[in-house]
């Protein structure tokens, strides 16, 4: 026993000497020794294309004439303000006052009143009081109580059913909330979480990260079903990302019925709830439909998500969001609170934005008129751009595209020429990735290949936002048109 230990020690010393001799001592942490769950997870929205786009942007900064285009246009991500959407004045006035409350002291107030309407000052004061006087203090880990109360009121008004502030958790962006719930529900490696195909890759990435099994809704050959998988959660994105589809009341009901029967929890990603462009398809929350189904469904378990990053607000950088727990056991809410407390608190300015978005200025308040004008302008413009871009895609050879009912994206299908597919395979790339890279390198337009979201085998898609500013829209469309025609010519 003793000799084994000493000999293995000698061996250790020897091997470390050898490593040193070669000057190549292997590091503790290397690609092969990290957490395999991290290695497994994929996240395309900021993958190869986004990295390449960043390289091109840097190149243009150094040498503006070195590429066939002047700007990189990021339509790979729903990031409205990056493409020039202006923030809503009311929101920013309040947040500015909260950052620098001295603006409201006796010395400054007269001056401040010239720039800030009365209601923004009142809002800022009330919010500051609710956070103990400074946005620099950690708040309650679930979020500032007043903000949670306002969120609950917003939900009650939207749905017509009661909502308790105790069931609301504020988070640093919707993604954090989704990850928390996925982590919570994956009790072992056999827990299955159903996600749509195509899907927003946050879901598959998080499931991989926490060691569960993704179960895709679309059936296809590559899906090896294992009978050991125990489906526990169904994720629904409504309005859909990347598909832009809005579910009808009947569909939602039926989904709830099946899940109720199977005792499956629903995770409803509703961050695009105000991005609705088809009047015949209004947004209905899962919570509202669930509650309309009567007491039989009182025990149904649902997590719903909303965020300030989307809608007409587009305050992505602020990382503000909330989730609501419906029918969730008190003991589980306590555990969620503990998880939240490990993160201390979501950033306070994100929470403030959640408050403002869920409680916009009322009709009789001084900020209402401007607020309403700004929101309407953004909404109308999004609707116009969505429709214009969809029609444009449909006009391209081999491209078909739905007119989106909601969200911020189009997910056109492209029939790629055989030769292009062969060329892509030769380069070791999926054909849609190859198409998107070519588009980026030739036009500066960055979209995300369908592979990142999942697609029926043999079909190719890409996701593009319709967020480029309206005044540049024709130019943007023209670029894609020229590229696409050349691409098709080249490979036909």
């Amino acid at each position: 026993m003793v000799s084994t230990t000493s000999s293995s020690k000698t061996q250790l010393v020897n091997s470390s000497n050898i490593k040193k001799l070669n000057g190549m001592r292997k590091k503790v942490l290397n690609e092969d020794t990290i957490n395999p769950c991290i290695k497994r997870c994929e996240y395309a929205v900021r993958g190869e294309l986004a990295i390449r786009a960043e390289e091109l942007r840097e190149q243009l900064e150094v040498n503006p004439d070195s590429l066939p285009f002047k700007h990189v246009i990021n339509t790979n991500i729903g990031n409205p303000q990056q493409l020039g959407q202006k923030p809503i004045t009311f929101f920013r006035q309040v947040t500015a006052l909260i950052e620098y409350p001295d603006l409201m002291d006796d010395e400054h107030i007269e001056f401040t009143k010239q720039f800030f309407p009365k209601d923004t000052i009142e809002r800022a004061k009330a919010l500051l009081e609710s956070m103990g006087g400074s946005s620099g203090a950690y708040s309650h880990s679930k979020g500032i109580p007043l903000v949670r109360k306002h969120v609950a009121e917003f939900i009650e008004e939207r749905d017509g059913y009661p909502c308790s502030p105790e069931d609301i958790f504020l988070t640093a962006g919707g993604s954090q909330g989704v990850q928390t719930i996925i982590q919570l529900t994956i009790a072992n490696e056999n827990v299955g979480i159903m996600i749509p195909i195509p899907q927003y890759p946050l879901y598959s990435a998080s499931i991989d990260m926490y060691g569960g099994k993704p179960v895709y809704y679309y059936l296809d050959e590559s899906n090896e079903w294992s009978i050991d998988v125990n489906v526990r959660v169904l994720c629904v994105i409504n309005p859909g990302n990347p598909t832009g589809q809005c579910l009808t009341e009947d569909t939602i009901k039926e989904i709830i019925q099946i899940c109720h029967e199977e005792r499956i929890i629903i995770l409803a990603d509703e961050v695009y709830q105000t991005n609705i462009y088809d009047d015949s398809r209004p947004f209905l929350s899962f919570k509202k439909v669930l509650r309309s189904m009567g007491p039989e469904y009182d025990d149904f378990e649902l997590f719903s998500f909303h965020s300030v990053s989307k809608g007409m607000v587009g305050e992505c950088g602020r990382r503000g969001a909330y989730f609501e727990c419906t029918g969730i056991d008190k003991s589980v809410i306590d555990e969620l609170y503990k998880m939240a407390s490990v993160n201390l608190c979501p950033n306070v300015q994100g929470q403030v934005m959640v408050d403002l978005v869920t409680r916009p200025p009322k009709e009789d308040e001084p900020s209402y008129e401007l607020y309403n004008a700004e929101i309407t302008e953004i909404y109308d413009s999004l609707k116009r751009r969505a429709s214009k871009l969809a029609s444009f895609f449909n006009s391209l050879e081999g491209v078909t595209c739905h007119h989106p009912q909601g969200a911020l994206y189009l997910f056109p299908k492209v029939v790629l020429p055989e030769k292009a597919i062969t060329e892509a395979r030769k380069l070791g790339k999926s054909p849609d990735t190859y198409y998107c890279l070519e588009l980026l390198n030739n036009t500066g337009v960055c979209v995300v290949p369908g592979t990142g979201f999942g697609q029926v085998e043999g079909t190719f898609h890409f996701r593009s936002t319709f967020l480029p500013p309206e005044e540049l829209f024709d130019e943007f469309i023209e670029k894609i048109k020229v590229f696409h025609e050349n691409f098709m010519k080249r490979f036909n």
Binding site: Q81, T89, S134, H140, M209, I258
Partner: protein
């Protein structure tokens, strides 16, 4: 045809016996479905009936994947991810919930035995009256509402350098704070951090290796998540420690390997202790991968000497350990003649031979003299970490899109404060010095006051924001706690909260040697508050001593 297919009725009365048959049958059925996939797809394309197809697919999959015998019932504490259930995080536990309720009762007039609850449980300076640094908040307000910058009268409200800085941020971020930044953080903030690190350590920092985060905690979480593969991977944690580390290790499924700090030597860190901790863990088959060092210490306030750090690095070199250096209190050093030195500097000073020692270091805007906890700004830097690993960490950063932009700007201002000669410099320096000297005075006062209570002993902290005093508890009190099923130090802290109105955290939340009892208190409140608080604690403590003698 397609619509007909969905009309099949769900059969939930399956039993294990015919389950496999059922699976096979369903697979066959879905084969049929798949062969018609093309048509369905076209139909879907034209009629846009996502709902029908979705439900069909969900039903199909559930028939196959739901496993009747394994069916987990509704989510409850026993069937959620058990790592979540097992994680402990005392800083915001039961006592804080009670304290919040007490404060609400006081505010609403239901309770009047004290004016307010004194929250000494968490390093949250602004919550106990510390004012933000003016320069930082002025810049942020302009960045929030850049229209002010266009108004000619803005110069009446804001100093020139504030306006310039705000303009720089508005332009530098390209589109203001409302857009997602790069997942690593704004380029210009990453550069500020790199320059700050270089000025501090005398060695250039690689931009690629700096990541902005939502508070330091997020970065620590990301890095531990990258390191830990399974429960055979161990991480050395100091005892006492900030419970974030133990909570994360439990959540991520790694193994905690404790090393004890030596209270007799001012909570010093001895290599002998590290050695024995590693040896013991190895005997259990644990692969010890990393060590967490909190410097200045939380909750101990201890600042490491450079010689000690060198020994630690040598030890890590020998044992192949990744160093996780939590340096969020680097500005909070109070003892005369003591100076913070980063692990990075010491490591790089040690030369080529140690270039394979891997290091993660983090910093935050929540501590120091900024105390901007609510902004959730922080960064981490990695050294000697392979590019492939760095890329994996980057991917992890991408899944949460970006750290909040305002927090990033606070990091920028922390690492690039106003310079001498700039209009804001004087006020900035005055505010900074006042906060730091207040903290120092309060740490001295609180140490003195606590030591005056019989049975409580502590040393003056060298740094950070906490004191971790030891309390001698009477045997009968310990027995009483056991009878109630509570930890003795928890029961004691509960008395302090409910009867003295002071919220401190029991030492068991941080870890302590068996049969010793401690608590952690911040020294952030003003002197009068601290005096009153300790006075009340003394009364309650003395009463407890009598009652349980």
């Amino acid at each position: 045809m397609y619509r007909k297919q969905q009309k099949y009725v769900m059969g939930r009365e399956l039993d294990q016996k015919n389950y496999r048959n059922k699976v096979q049958k369903t697979k066959n059925k879905s084969q049929t479905f798949k062969s018609e996939k093309k048509d369905v797809q076209d139909y879907h394309d034209t009629k846009n009936i996502i709902g029908d197809e979705l439900i069909y697919n969900i039903k199909e999959l559930m028939r196959i994947n739901s496993h009747p015998s394994l069916q987990i019932n509704n989510l409850n504490v026993d069937n959620i991810n058990q790592r979540v259930r097992d994680a402990q995080y005392a800083v915001r536990g039961e006592l804080v919930t009670i304290a919040d309720q007490m404060q609400r009762d006081i505010s609403s007039g239901k309770r009047s035995d004290f004016e307010k609850v004194v929250f000494c449980n968490i390093g949250n300076p602004h919550a106990v009256g510390q004012k933000p640094i003016t320069f930082i908040r002025q810049v942020l307000s302009l960045v929030e509402y850049p229209e002010l910058l266009e108004n000619p009268n803005v110069t009446l409200l804001y100093p020139k350098d504030v306006i310039e800085r705000a303009k720089e941020y508005v332009i530098g971020s390209r589109n203001g704070v409302g857009a997602y930044s790069n997942s690593q953080g704004f380029d210009f903030v990453v550069r500020d951090v790199a320059n700050f690190i270089e000025a501090r350590d005398g060695y250039k920092a690689d931009l690629k290796n700096i990541f902005l985060t939502n508070g330091a905690s997020e970065g620590i979480q990301m890095f531990l998540n990258t390191i830990i593969r399974n429960n055979m991977d161990g991480v050395l944690l100091p005892i006492p420690q900030y419970p974030l580390y133990s909570a994360l290790l439990t959540l991520l499924g790694g193994t905690k390997v404790n090393y004890y700090l030596d209270e007799e030597k001012g909570w010093g860190l001895s290599i002998q202790e590290l050695n024995s901790a590693v040896t013991k863990a190895k005997m259990k088959g644990i692969n010890v991968r990393s060590i967490v060092v909190i410097n200045p210490g939380n909750p101990t306030g201890q600042c490491l000497e450079v010689d000690n750090m060198k020994e630690i690095i040598k030890f890590c070199h020998r044992e192949n350990l990744i160093i996780i250096a939590d340096e969020v209190y680097q500005e909070n050093v109070y003892t005369e003649g003591k100076k913070f030195t980063s692990f990075r500097k010491v490591l790089l000073d040690m030369g080529e031979e140690y270039r394979d020692v891997q290091l993660f270091s983090c910093h935050s805007v929540s501590k120091g003299f900024l105390g901007e906890c609510g902004q959730r700004g922080g960064y981490f830097e990695i050294n000697n970490i392979d590019g492939e690993v760095r890329d994996q960490i980057y991917k992890l950063a991408c899944t949460r899109l970006c750290p909040n932009t305002l927090g990033q700007l606070v990091v920028s201002m922390m690492t690039r404060p106003p310079k001498e000669g700039e209009p804001s410099y004087e006020l900035y320096e005055r505010e900074r010095n006042a906060i730091l000297s207040n903290l120092k005075e309060r740490s001295i006062l609180l140490t003195k006051e606590l030591n005056a209570i019989p049975g409580i002993t502590c040393e003056r902290p060298q740094g950070a924001m906490y004191i971790f005093p030891r309390v001698e508890l009477p045997t009968k009190f310990i027995e009483e706690a056991e009878r109630l099923g509570k930890k003795p130090d928890f029961l004691w802290a509960k008395y302090m909260l409910e009867e003295a109105g002071v919220c401190v955290i029991p030492g068991s939340g941080f870890g302590q040697k068996q049969n010793t009892f401690h608590f952690r208190t911040t020294f952030l409140a003003d002197q009068d508050t601290l005096k009153d608080a300790t006075q009340r604690m003394r009364v309650v403590h003395e009463r407890l001593l009598k009652e349980f003698s």
